[in-house]
């Protein structure tokens, strides 16, 4: 009962945390969300890929189409989020690494932002889509045919002649896996230290 935990016991969760940090950092370079628009005159479809700091793809064409229904240019969305996201996510990754070494009882809280990141991303996306969709310029040419709407964050929906398909993309999946790894690491610590939420350094020192 008073046996100090073996080094190998906390190497595994520490490794998982490090891996989670690496995945999180990598996700910066990958798209989090993808929207594809399908219509007869665009046989290859139009698509935009949303990264944490930028939007790529057929932005010009989609903005061009959106101006008919009075939707603001995509570039105007989530400007603050996109400006700080690279630093913020890098910081999150570093904090997760730090959590391996921080030795206070509540140090598990350091991993909390990473656990919540996927949900926060989707929520923010939803709020922006909702804001853009509900605030169409009432003087736009097609304002009488296309009424304000809330675009779907995930899955299919229909806007004018376009069928839209929204899905999370590789960057989001990495963030999701990172969160899962953090969760597993915390559970492992919990097993090793008998229901006591401590990080390995603290445990070693105590031993």
């Amino acid at each position: 009962m008073n046996q100090p935990p073996r080094l190998s016991h906390h190497l595994v969760p520490a490794g998982l945390l490090a891996l989670a940090a690496a995945l999180l950092f990598t996700s910066i370079f990958l798209p989090y969300w993808r929207l594809t628009l399908l219509a007869p005159q665009y046989p290859r479809g139009l698509s935009v890929q949303t990264y944490v700091n930028r939007i790529e793809g057929d932005v010009q064409e989609i903005d061009g189409l959106n101006h008919y229904i009075g939707m603001r240019p995509l570039e105007q969305a989530a400007q603050l989020e996109r400006a700080v996201s690279v630093y913020a996510i890098t910081a999150l990754a570093l904090i997760v690494v730090a959590a391996i070494f921080v030795n206070v009882r509540w140090s598990w809280l350091l991993t909390l932002p990473t656990l919540l990141l996927p949900a926060v991303f989707l929520l923010d996306l939803y709020l922006w889509l909702r804001h853009f969709g509900l605030h169409l310029d009432p003087t736009a040419p097609l304002s009488s045919s296309v009424k304000p709407f809330v675009p779907a964050v995930l899955g299919r929906s229909k806007i004018a002649q376009f069928e839209t398909v929204a899905a999370v993309d590789s960057g989001f999946y990495l963030a999701l896996v990172a969160a899962a790894l953090v969760l597993v690491a915390l559970l492992l610590y919990r097993l090793v230290y008998r229901r006591r939420w401590v990080t390995p350094c603290a445990a070693t020192r105590r031993a």
Binding site: Y42, D58, Q60, E61, G64, Y68, P141, L142
Partner: protein, 673 residues
């Protein structure tokens, strides 16, 4: 006299050698009537259900259904081949997909073409003006022979050249955007027929003159025809990097006034040599109104004319070493130099021949007899032996004449009026018969059907009077076979009567099977002009842009125009009475939408289509000022005009672009001075 309903699909036996002509005619008639009953019987045979009933209701025989199956390309699927044909008197080039025979595009070349804005923008006006003569704005051309650029003797799909027979011009079309980039006017020829043909790596574009004129273009009495009049073949140096012909590095070769005709470049074993036919070694000068023999008689007296054999490499070397004279600012290698230095040789050829075509291996030259029923096959190896052996015989201009028997490999009797030859991948040559309205297949040395070398294999009637024929990549070092298109001069009864000016009939023929079978597949009416020659390239060799690479693209220089209107920088600037407008176009607006100027202002419009979506094309038109340009995605055009009429003019988008296309307009307000 009734025509059999589907003679194109009727198979005839290959004509056996030379029964008297009347018998041929009679037998041909009988043969063409006979299969009528047989072919008609099994309407829709082999089909079942709805397909069979449709075939029966439409009166389609089995071979019709087969032809339809071989040519129908469903919506959304693409053709396997692209055919570039000349546009004849339209002065343009036609682009057609095969096997569907759907017209894909008409490229504006020598004639203003409003849809493309060709001849309305500053850039295209400049190109057209460069090809015009002194003080004469030419507004048409007679395009004859398109030539796709080649690498190692095979089509590379990068450039297309085409000649204007009427005015001795050659145009360069860039196949990245299917637009004409250059027109050069020949300074030493009055007209051309022996072009455009390219050498295997497109270093040279060949342009042979047709009707002889006094050397240098000055007046000379027709009585001095043999002394002062001269034939000419021009070798235009092509700078592939620049995508332009370089006139300064080009030269012409002075020839006797024999009315040189079609030409072809050697390839592989005969690379570096060029061959031309001639049709008037009689030096006939016409004068029917004075009781002389008309040209058609006078030029048809000799049993033999001269195949012109040109050592192009040597000619270019002599020009480089300063042996050329300068005439009208253009380098011309004199006839006596060419004759003395082994640049030019003649070989007799029967009789006022038309096409000269080098076989895919480069070993043989097929000369189609026109007034002789033979295709005469010259061996390049034998020509070289004869040249090495030397000859004492010359023509009146001192050009060495090789002996017919020394250089001829074989003669294939194909029928009446042989004009042009193409090749396939199965060891066959194909020659059109103008008089017999047929296309013949004959064997080279090792045909896939196992026939004897140099023998007639099949004869397929066409409708009617074929000139050129084109097989898929059929003049390259590796022809594809598969398809042949006969460019028929007469259509007579093939299409609904549209009045006394009839469409041409481009007929697609299936040549995929060796032996005697060459069924006709499709009749394509050409109702814009008379195409002459065509070349057919595998569609996947073409690599055209979907939109211009960057916004603000000047298609004339294929680079971004530093002066292009860019989004956010739209403006009107005045400097004295010169007004510059930077305007962008995007669905569904021009910016600016109002331009206020004064009468007499010199206006320069820089208009850019800032769209990036494929097919998001706009037009820009100002009525009353004769302005219409096409703006493809990314393209920047410059339009210049003098506001010489006061009033209010609307400008508008002339290409239906969007639901709010009609709203894409603006006002040009020209106030009194």
């Amino acid at each position: 006299m009734t025509h059999p309903p589907r003679p194109l699909h009727d198979q005839q036996d290959a004509a056996s050698p030379t029964p008297p002509k009347v018998v041929i005619l009679f037998v041909t008639l009988l043969l063409s009537l006979f299969p009528l009953a047989a072919a008609q019987a099994p309407a829709g045979a082999g089909l079942s259900g709805e397909a069979a009933s449709v075939a029966e209701a439409r009166g389609l025989a089995t071979e019709d259904v087969l032809a339809a199956l071989k040519t129908y390309v469903p919506s959304g699927q693409l053709d396997d081949y692209v055919m570039f044909s000349s546009g004849g008197q339209s002065g343009q080039v036609l682009v057609t997909g095969l096997p569907s025979m759907r017209l894909l595009k008409v490229i504006g070349v020598f004639t203003p073409e409003p849809w493309q804005g060709w001849g309305y923008s500053s850039g295209s006006k400049e190109i057209l003006a460069a090809g015009s003569g002194d003080g004469v704005q030419l507004t048409w051309g007679d395009t004859h022979h398109p030539a796709i650029s080649e690498t190692a003797g095979d089509y590379d799909g990068q450039f297309l050249f085409v000649n204007d027979k009427a005015n001795a011009r050659v145009a360069v079309i860039d196949l990245r955007d299917f637009e004409t980039k250059q027109i050069v006017k020949n300074p030493v020829a009055n007209n051309d027929h022996g072009g455009a043909y390219v050498t295997p790596d497109t270093e040279w574009v060949i342009e042979g003159a047709q009707y002889s004129v006094p050397l240098g273009g000055d007046y000379a009495s027709i009585d001095e025809y043999t002394e002062k009049y001269r034939g000419m073949v021009t070798f235009w140096k092509f700078d592939r990097e620049a995508g332009r012909i370089d006139p300064a590095a080009s030269f012409a070769l002075e020839l006797p006034p024999y009315w040189q005709d079609i030409a072809d470049a050697g390839k592989l074993s005969s690379d570096g040599w060029v061959f031309l036919n001639s049709i008037n070694t009689e030096n006939a000068t016409g004068g029917i109104e004075m009781g002389h023999a008309p040209f058609e008689l006078g030029a048809s007296q000799n049993e033999f004319d001269y195949l012109h054999i040109v050592n192009l490499e040597k000619a270019a070397g002599l020009v480089a070493s300063g042996r050329a004279e300068t005439i009208n600012g253009f380098q011309v290698l004199p006839l006596e130099v060419a004759a003395a230095e082994g640049v030019l040789f003649f070989a007799p050829e029967p009789k006022s021949p038309h096409g000269v075509d080098v076989t895919p291996d480069g070993n043989f030259i097929a000369v189609a007899g026109k007034l002789s029923p033979y295709v005469t096959i010259y061996s390049f190896a034998k020509i070289q032996e004869a040249i090495a052996k030397g000859t004492t015989e010359t023509d009146a201009y001192g050009v060495p004449v090789l002996a017919f028997d020394d250089v001829v490999e074989a003669q294939v009797e194909v029928g009446l009026g042989p004009l042009h030859t193409q090749f396939d991948d199965k060891g066959y040559g194909y020659t059109s018969l103008f008089l017999e309205s047929a296309v013949t297949r004959w064997s080279l040395t090792d045909p896939a059907g196992g026939e004897a070398p140099w023998s007639l294999v099949a004869k397929q009637p066409v409708n009617y009077n074929p000139g050129h024929i084109a097989t898929a990549e059929g003049d390259t070092v590796s022809p594809d076979g598969n398809y042949l298109v006969a460019l028929n001069k007469w259509s007579v009864d093939r299409f609904v009567n549209v009045g006394p000016l009839l469409p041409q009939n481009l007929q697609l023929i299936d040549i995929s099977q060796p032996g005697e079978t060459m069924p006709g597949l499709y009749d394509m009416p050409i109702g814009v002009a008379e195409p002459h020659y065509a070349q057919i390239i595998k569609a996947d060799k073409l690599n055209a842009w979907e939109v211009y690479p960057e916004t603000g693209w000047d298609s004339r220089i294929q680079a971004v125009d530093p002066n292009a209107a860019m989004p956010g920088e739209e403006r009107v600037e005045r400097d004295g009475d010169s007004v510059h407008v930077w305007m962008t176009a995007a669905r569904s607006r021009f910016n600016p939408e109002r331009i206020e100027i004064k009468k007499g202002d010199r206006v320069t419009l820089h208009v850019t289509n800032i769209e990036r979506a494929r097919d998001a094309i706009h037009g820009f038109a100002i009525p009353d000022y004769n302005i219409n340009v096409s703006l493809e995605p990314g393209e920047a055009e410059t339009i210049e005009f003098t506001a010489d009429r006061e009033g209010v003019f609307t400008y508008y988008c002339s290409e239906f672009c969007s639901a709010l296309h009609l709203e894409m307009a603006g006002y040009l307000m020209v106030s009194p001075n």
